[in-house]
Symmetry: C2
Subunit: 203 residues, 2 copies
């Protein structure tokens, strides 16, 4: 089913539907596994999304072992815990607060870029959060580009997850995203979106 699309866009209607109009956040998935190669293909696409100073702070942890899934699950709300333990694949998205150590390679034309961040940990954390969140959104779009559904979740016990997975303090958890082929039955109606007039204003 294709919904109405606007001629102002260049992206074709099928892609619009795949990535946005028909794509839905999934709570329940089929048993079909999500192989490493699929995630590699997703990353190979979305790594081109822009970040400030090309800093690319996002790190993706694929929780494939039951042990790693359980280590995460105890820090989720009860409803998210159940979804996560049943998903074919769960990814823990985090940001590298030490991203500046790679900037000489990632942004070579401005050798001073690393120095901007080196002595300001708070600035690094803010920048990693913002740019990591941009990359998390690209990753969600990429999951949809692979014909799969994402189930992103925030609101977990971030401190608990950070202590469990990143005890050295160099990484910070950002988002948990379940990944798989969505179970179509029982899909809830799409929730309302804000109108253009509520969001956009001309000054």
């Amino acid at each position: 089913m294709t919904t109405s699309t606007t001629p102002r866009l260049v992206l074709d209607a099928t892609a619009q539907d795949l990535l946005f109009r028909q794509a839905r956040t999934a709570d329940r998935f089929t048993d079909e596994p999500v192989p490493d190669e699929t995630i590699e293909a997703v990353y190979d696409l979305v790594r081109y999304g822009p970040t400030a100073f090309n800093q690319q702070p996002l790190r993706i942890f694929l929780l494939r072992s039951p042990e790693s899934r359980e280590r995460l699950a105890v820090h989720l709300s009860r409803s998210n815990r159940e979804k996560t333990l049943r998903a074919p694949l769960t990814s823990l998205l985090a940001v590298d607060n030490e991203f500046h150590r790679k900037l000489a390679r990632l942004f070579p034309e401005f050798p001073g870029a690393a120095d901007l961040y080196a002595e300001n940990h708070a600035l690094r954390e803010r920048s990693a959060s913002l740019n990591g969140a941009l990359q998390a959104a690209y990753f969600i779009i990429g999951i949809r580009a692979a014909g799969l559904a994402a189930g992103p979740m925030s609101g977990f016990d971030e401190d608990g997850v950070n202590r469990e997975f990143f005890p050295a303090g160099d990484l910070s958890a950002l988002l948990v995203v379940n990944i798989g082929r969505p179970e179509q039955s029982g899909e809830r109606p799409r929730r309302p979106r804000l109108a253009h007039s509520e969001v956009c204003r001309t000054l």
Copy 2:
């Protein structure tokens, strides 16, 4: 020109190129105007991107008057100021820290959602920043879906911008994004991206 694509993705190669592989951040644009209808079409697509509790905190300010552009420009670094004053359209992306007031409408099946945020301003700000950044990324993708280029910029004087544009304190500036048809000549080579093995790890 189409680059090599992976058969693991469902999204066709043309769309992959349009949104990620060939799309580039633009510093310089042609004089071609970007009409309101284009931004409306972009928003109409990307508003379907997911946010926590469907909170949709992003607000988009289109700075069309020379006065509004100047009000922003003084808070940007010198190089970003020049780019911004020359762009066909500049958008100021902000987040509504009072998003919880709309949750009864946006997430009707959980009437208590607004209460989770009502008495915790710090939680609201954190949640608005994260989810607004996801939406900012969807917006950048949407600009590319319209065949245009985005020039996203962070690192400006956020406090200064907030005082100038949002004196009531209900909104926080997130990102500035210039929008237009890119000037192709003098495009710099794409900066390196991190390899899959540097970003993804299986646990």
